[in-house]
Subunit: 516 residues, 2 copies
């Protein structure tokens, strides 16, 4: 067999059975090998940002890595923004980047570039296969890296001759992922002391501490001790809805974040990072914490967060009989009148089915979505974690492939949606059960706000040329049709509800352009 | 004034008066500064690959750099594939990449990444502004780097606090670009000896040696000495058409390239690289030259190629009275019948106006275009130089902005067009005189060929899922309409000619979907 076959076998042996791909000539032997492996699901993206963003969405919902297949340095570069988001989400991912045959590199053919330098900033681990005999060993290492808690980005560079070279090397053993580490007792004791100190204490959660089981324990602790729960501003995945413990997030705007945290005296991190401003602004702080707030690390993101919370509850004497505050099911009435962001959120809260997966890249338009969906049926909520816009549509594709029986709802701003709109074609190609809602405000609304906050006054001609998307207005229904997606345009709350209701009642991809 | 204002002033003082932009929050002070400079033309791209590809097209036609404005590491990453193409085209470019304020970096906010590592592979020069006082000096250096012959990629990282910081620093002087270097006499003498040796000698040209004036001199040398002229396989810009010296290019397929070069005994490089295979293939060579071919370097890409050719002609005793072979104007009859790639090329040859700019990313569908357009009215021919597909539509945008009085014709494969289709919106926004022809074969046709050449036999389910674009078929007329571009679909040679004729007779953006 050749190296490419052995690579496929290694991926499958490591449980990596989904490959998001945008191949080129140097990957043809790998494509031919994939063609011989019907157990591998191959999903084409028409742009690499679709490929990597889908792999992120898949990993967040499947809890295991997908492979990506990318074409040399430029192909990797096109996918890096969403690898950045995946890295910040702590999603596992195995990137296979084809390169020229080893002996061909010295000729500096047009597509030659320094792939390692490109890969490192967005990867936890970068490797280059030395030859066909090394393929399985190196791929096994990449898989093991990706599966290390809490999830890592492994990028494996595959020279074409390592793919096409014959090998009799055996399938390398793939080490089982290490269990998540138990936290150390002193961390528990420090947290207990803080909570018992009587000073205002917040448990800040992220990662798997935002799953329902961990939130249940955290909710018991909060109920019994009065400690406050708070989630990071942006998180890979939250389990929410009726019957679950609700948790607020740190607000995005600096002033609101500072206000939300102004009274915190102890901040205990449970797989979370201490809150910082998304961007720096003149005269505003970088840290969102008050000066004398003490930050304590209960558990790192890769630790066993559920166990840590159980242990903490035990040490605090919080028994299983303590009942946390959970949300009761409550749906709003359907909105009427003007189609505003609030109307969209209300309609969604009224109509979204149980077990939905919300992929939220609604940016400024969706700021209030979170509060509208606290009491709706149980669902998962996925966010853009690294701030690199262009994740939403690919993320939805990956989530839908990981969870084919769940409705995926993608909330997309028109500005950010344009970065990777090619994902709509993958929605159509794979007939994914994804409903995309485009908030069509026809501007980079968030940047208009930022420009105002810079004190630049009303935008002039050059600023408007860089911040407005209204000349011409994007026609999302036509963009969708161009990629084989049925769609509708809503200009009132009533027409939006009608479209959303119809989309929820059917399976398959659909797009609603919500003209705000 | 603040650093951002000083940066704008420095750019304008350096002749950089066009800024292709996709800004974010960290660039808001720069946006506000641009807003105060009506002399700067700001052009928005809805994805960074549009921004950098347009800057490349602009540079190729304007002969000077544009600035790009990109948003931190992920924004740069999104633009890198087309920076790679620009680097291979030796286009000058000044990338301004916003970063967090210096003091904010240590907080590792979500968008933080190692921008330098990302920038280096695709840049000749990377700098980071130390503060507002250093802005002008650093920008002047970036401009000087970009303007160094034959053209360099300068990437300047601009921390937000360097943009918003107050400064009283003076505008830094920007050194005038050095004139292109004269080649050394021994190079001329070696070339003369080779040509006079009686052995089969080829002059291989690229860069500015493919402009009409240099080709005229090369044509005189060829006429008088029997030396053969040949261009690189892919070139940034060629001046072609009736009244000019025609020059063939090294073919893309390895077998054809080897055949075209099999008799060469001396290869004299004039701003060109010795030909190598675009990709490596098992059992095929990397160099396209026969074993005993001697490669001589007459002139580097940054040398004064026109002067070198004049000097060579003089040394060879080729007088100004020698008349080179030039193409006579000849247009084909309009094609009829089935719409094939040849029919598209024939129609184009029949109808394209004088001084057109052809931006060719037609990949496999356009392989014969070059030969069909040898004798048409004078035009420029721009290619994808680095093999990173997704350049065509942005390149056309930049060329049209550099040359508003010329018709730009973008020849785009459907597969490669999808990578940066957002450029169509910029065509509409700026009302650019660009006619886009999409070769809609609904597959990665080139990869089907490569898969065959791998010996994989007929593609199976997984391979087809990665190589075919037909389920669903992309509807380019609707994609165009979604971005405000008028369009038509042609399914026969006759309907294509009708649409093309109409598009040539009007100004402004138009798209023709040629269903093959």
């Amino acid at each position: 067999m050749n190296g490419a076959d052995l690579l496929c076998d290694t991926l499958l042996a490591g449980g990596v059975d989904t490959c998001f791909a945008n191949p080129g000539t140097s990957e043809m032997h790998f494509v031919a090998a994939l063609d011989r492996k019907p157990a591998m699901r191959c999903v084409l993206g028409l742009f690499e940002g679709v490929v990597t963003g889908a792999a992120d969405g898949y990993a967040r919902m499947a809890g295991k890595p997908a492979a990506t297949l990318l074409h040399l340095g430029p192909g990797l570069a096109n996918g890096l923004a969403n690898v950045h988001n995946a890295k910040r989400a702590r999603s596992p991912m195995v990137n296979i980047v084809g390169d020229h045959a080893t002996y061909h590199l010295k000729y500096d053919a047009p597509l030659t570039s320094d792939i390692e330098s490109l890969a490192r900033p967005m990867s936890h681990w970068v490797g280059r296969v030395a030859g066909a005999d090394a393929v399985s060993r190196d791929a096994a290492q990449a898989i093991a890296q990706a599966r290390s808690a809490p999830g890592r980005i492994a990028t494996l560079i595959l020279p074409a001759d390592a793919a096409w070279g014959e090998t009799s090397a055996a399938l390398a053993p793939i080490p089982a992922p290490l269990p998540r580490a138990k936290v150390l007792q002193p961390h528990i004791q420090t947290a207990v002391a803080a909570i018992r100190s009587g000073r205002r204490t917040t448990l800040m959660l992220s990662g798997v501490a935002l799953r329902a089981d961990a939130l249940q324990v955290a909710g018991r602790i909060a109920k019994a001790t009065g400690v406050r729960l708070l989630a990071q501003q942006s998180n890979a995945r939250m389990e929410r809805g009726a019957g679950r413990v609700a948790i607020e997030r740190v607000p995005y705007p600096v002033e609101q974040a500072l206000a939300a945290l102004q009274d915190v005296e102890h901040l205990i991190l449970v797989g979370a990072k201490a809150p910082v401003a998304f961007f720096a602004y003149p005269g505003k702080p970088s840290s969102m914490l008050p000066e004398h707030c003490q930050v304590l690390q209960l558990a790192d993101p890769g630790d066993d967060l559920l166990d840590a919370l159980h242990w903490l509850a035990d040490e605090l004497g919080v028994g299983a009989d303590v009942r946390p505050e959970v949300m009761e099911l409550q749906r709003p009435a359907l909105p009427t009148g003007a189609l505003t962001p609030a109307a969209v959120a209300t309609a969604l809260a009224a109509l979204m089915p149980e077990h939905s997966i919300l992929c939220d890249e609604s940016v400024s338009s969706g700021r209030n979505l979170f509060q509208f969906t606290r009491t709706v049926p149980q669902h998962d909520y996925l966010q853009i974690t690294g701030g690199a816009i262009g994740l939403g549509l690919p993320l939805a594709a990956g989530a839908a492939i990981a969870c084919p029986d769940r409705k995926v709802i993608c909330l997309e701003a028109d500005g950010s949606g344009m970065y990777t709109l090619q994902a709509l074609w993958t929605h159509a190609r794979e007939q994914l059960d994804v409903v995309t809602i485009v908030f069509a405000n026809r501007s980079y609304a968030i940047l208009h706000g930022e420009l105002r906050s810079v004190g630049a006054g009303a935008p002039g001609a050059n600023a408007r040329r860089m911040l407005d998307l209204d000349q011409p207005a994007l026609q999302w229904t036509q963009l969708a049709a161009g990629m084989g997606i049925e769609s509708g345009r809503a200009t009132s709350a009533e027409s939006f509800c009608q479209l959303l209701g119809a989309a929820m009642a059917r399976r398959g991809p659909f797009l609603i352009e919500a003209v705000l």
